[in-house]
Amino acid sequence: MASLPSLTLKLIARRSQSSLRCGLITRLSRSYTTAREGTQISDEEEQSRINNLRNASGLPENLYKIYHGQAPNLSYKDLHKRKMLYAQLGAASGEDPRILWPSRAKLLDMEQEEIEEGSPLAERFARIQAEKVEAEKAKLERRNIIAKNMQQMPKLIAEYKKKQANIEAAAKERAAKKEILLQEARDVFGYKVQAHDPKFLQMTEEKELLEKAEKKKQKKEAKLKKSEQWHKQLSEPTPQDSTQT
């Protein structure tokens, strides 16, 4: 009998650790519980002591609860944690299921955002139709422009060909003239002169000046002739005049 009180003292010391591993001790401690089966336990300490006794595995409190699908005892739970607990444990989590939906203010905010961002479906269909019609119109317009331009094509081709022909003819003329000059230079200098030779260039320059002078002279002579003729006409009596007198 003397040994029993010492055992209970050891129990009290160990209770704080909440790890009762020896079956003997649990049996002995059960005989010392103040509560009886079927009575209400009001003391929280008593309740926690009983819970510890039930925890035969000796698991830490929250692990025990997770294993048995009970809500864990957490010092801090944010909204996300509470949602996850409800999803995981259901009604046993002790959370209000209303937290799973967005709050009314947030919901109305989301709704307002959707209204502002979106446009009615009819409008969107109308926009698609309008874009289609516009694309068709643009295609038709482009085709009309192409058709119109294609009508012009023979004329444009002919013009282009004529222009090219003119350019070619002019080039040929220049080449021919140059050839003649080169021939003359050959006669003058006695050998085939290069076109970029300064002697040849000088010769051509002089020739050009002579030609210019000649032209001027001819012009003057032509003018003089014309004026002489005119004077002659004026001085001669007209046949009409003679008859009149």
């Binding site: 999803a87 995981q88 259901g90 799973l100 919901l107 709704e111 979106g118 009615p120 969107r124 269909f125």
Partner: protein
């Protein structure tokens, strides 16, 4: 009765952890003087010995010691502009689908949608990679022979013809990324305790496709779809089976609402796997939000 504000404040205070040095900080208005180190230590001002670090002669950003930097090595191709953000529809062939049906991986006695195809484990897509659903390709169009109510995201005319020739029905349906995440892994979605999302309408460039009866879009006029069915049968030269006389007519004509993503479940509902029950909102604001799209 305490006001809502005080109630919420009290709840906050109750749920917050005990104040300690580890979870408080000074007011934003608090100013701190620069710590001036008197003595030998402050000779180099924390810059170390010599080098670029102490002399502020760092190389320009991206410089790789003379090696052609990465930004120079890849040319800028303007024509790739929007390719990274375009919608993608990972493909699966009709042949693959037929094989899945033949091997009982897909139950044809129920409507087949992206959820059924993903649940086979043979088809996966990633929302983060701009995948917007399943694209059925034409390979196996001549051997396809299954009466199926198929709902997919993208397909071609030949596939539609193959499915309808076999006596089935096909619908193209748009799902926005949030819904796709729920569809790809419904179990994970319900385990998070999230309400079933409502499906948004397709964006403007996709709206034309999903409202086109030629592609059996879910927003198209049902009567125009019937006409398109007949036209397609004439085009490809097969006899169009009569849906009205079909014994599984109800299955073949089962369609989801444009806002609905799971058969038999409506947006706003919460499926709780632990209690094996469905939580449905009753409040009119919530009902209005979950049953309307703008």
């Amino acid at each position: 009765m305490a006001s809502k504000v005080t109630e919420r404040a009290l709840n906050l205070v109750k749920s917050m952890p005990r104040v300690g040095l580890g979870n408080i900080k000074d007011l934003p208005t608090a100013t701190y003087k620069k710590q001036v180190n008197r003595g030998r230590r402050q000779k180099k001002k924390g810059r170390g010995d010599k080098g670029q670090g102490s002399r502020n002669t760092w190389d320009p950003l991206g410089y790789e010691g003379g090696q052609r930097p990465l930004i120079d090595s890849v040319p800028s191709e303007k024509y790739y502009g929007q390719y990274a953000i375009r919608r993608q529809y990972p493909p699966i062939s009709l042949l693959e689908l037929q094989r899945m049906i033949d091997l009982d991986r897909v139950d044809v006695t129920k409507p087949v949608d992206i959820v059924s195809i993903c649940n086979t484990g043979l088809f996966k897509f990633e929302v983060a990679k701009n995948h917007f659903g399943v694209n059925i390709t034409e390979e196996g169009c001549d051997v396809f022979a299954a009466k199926i109510n198929l709902e997919i995201q993208w397909t071609s005319e030949l596939v539609i013809a193959a499915v309808e020739k076999s006596g089935g029905t096909i619908t193209t349906r748009y799902y926005d990324p949030q819904c796709l995440a729920a569809l790809f892994n419904p179990l994970a979605h319900f385990k998070k305790g999230l309400p079933i999302p409502k499906c948004k309408l397709p964006p403007q460039d996709a709206l034309a496709y999903y409202s086109d009866p030629e592609f059996r879009g879910y927003l198209a006029d049902p009567e125009k779809i019937l006409l398109a069915r007949e036209k397609l049968a004439q085009k490809y030269g097969y006899k169009l089976p009569d849906l009205g006389a079909d014994p599984v007519k109800d299955l073949l004509l089962m369609r989801k609402d444009p806002l609905q993503i799971f058969y038999g479940l409506e947006p706003g509902w919460i499926v709780n796997l632990k209690d094996r029950c469905i939580l449905k909102p009753k409040d009119e604001d919530y009902l209005r939000y979950y049953y309307n799209v703008h």
